[in-house]
Amino acid sequence: MKGNAAFRTLVLLAVIVILAGGAYFVIKQAQTSVSDLPVLGQLPDFEFTAQSGGMFGRREMRGKVNIVDFIFTRCKGPCPIMSGFMSELYQLYGGTDSVQFVSITVDPSYDSLKVLQAYAESHGVKDSRWVFLWAPIDSVVQLSEQGFMLAADDLPGSHTTKWVLVDKDANIRGYYSGTDEASIEVLKTHVARLVKEMK
């Protein structure tokens, strides 16, 4: 009878150890799977003009987690949705300087710095955490295709709706759909991870 009790205790302990070990393994796998953000590419050096008139390029992206998109102010299709979501995130991360937003115009002939400034204001931009960049169309196409690896045919009409996540070393870490809320939820978890890596 005594031996039986000891055996039962052993079985119970074994079950607990197996459950704990299994759970630990599963949780670790899940955590790595969501934090696994491989470097997808490195941004080339570039220098565009920000809506404030200052220069902004790869150097200014370093040291911050950057969320980048391509838009134009006359756009009636996806841009209002994208800039709306971007504006929400801009508010969400209001308490930190670690996250920076970069919107690049694909319609430089119309979107002068003045137009971009007005667009920024209409989206509630109050500080330098969200910049709107201007450059001649050839430079925009080149940066889009060779830097961000995003197609840039028939600009401005059929510009990309992808958002790009760029880390503190100007490495591309992920692409998201800027018109899809579920995709943006995923982006948020990735941003949190990259910011925690920086600390």
Partner: protein, 310 residues
Amino acid sequence: MKSFRRFALFTTLATYFLIFMGGLVRVSGAGLGCPDWPKCFGRWIPPTNVEQLPPNIDPAQFNFVLAWIEYVNRLTGVIVGLLIAATAVWAISSFRRQPRIVLPAVAAAVLTAFQGWQGSVVISSQLEPVVVTVHMALALIIVSLLIYLTQEAYYRENREAFLTLRAPRGVIFSLGMLWVIAIIQIALGTQIRSALEILARKFPLSTSAEWIGKVGLLNHIHTVLGVLLVAFSWGVAFSIWKYRDRMSALMRQSVVAMVTLATLQLFMGLTFIALDLTPIVQVFHLWLASLYVGSALLLYTIFRKREAAS
């Protein structure tokens, strides 16, 4: 009866394993690992690479590991569901004149079918806190029915294993209350877990200590009720322990299990604040709570049985 009792016990243990899996899904963040139900990304077997995804799904949403965690939980759910259904069929066909066997078995099977459907609501509601909490509470009621059933079957073949003790009414009532309060306490806990998740989305860059601070009232109630529950458990245990010489081994073990689980829970709750919500502790905090519910119910039913028999 013996083989039925064994089968019922096995089903109960399997259900406890499923509750463990469910907690693991929650804690590892795999609740929406499959965004659809009952299929996973439109397939009966989840995709193993991005090419197998249906065209309307954004590849950025797909996570192989999370999909499989959720999928294994669903498979386990199907197996446990079949076990419970088999228990009910067995009960109806062999013990139809014994309502204390048939009723809990059938009730468990009906609730399990409902639970399967409710699982689909968990997914379609995008893990709405109240829906998740109902899912958990249903699981506790199902496992309680199975414990009651197993205990009834055991009693029928082995009456002398039950005590020769008539417990005071107050003790029986207290045990019933412990069961009820424990379920409420777990519901509060799952609500806090959901509140934390919402806060994590709203303040993605805060630490978990800051999130806990923001939960506020709900968290305080959970803590106070937890301390009371532990104190109450010890009180009831002491008042029964006087009669330990007249208790069966099963009863003594249940009393020890109840106070041990309650005390462990208190320490785990405290660990959360010290250890930054360590995921593995979260899984066991929930699971031990469900085991506590089982131990309280078991004691309640055994004591009540004694009273009814006398």
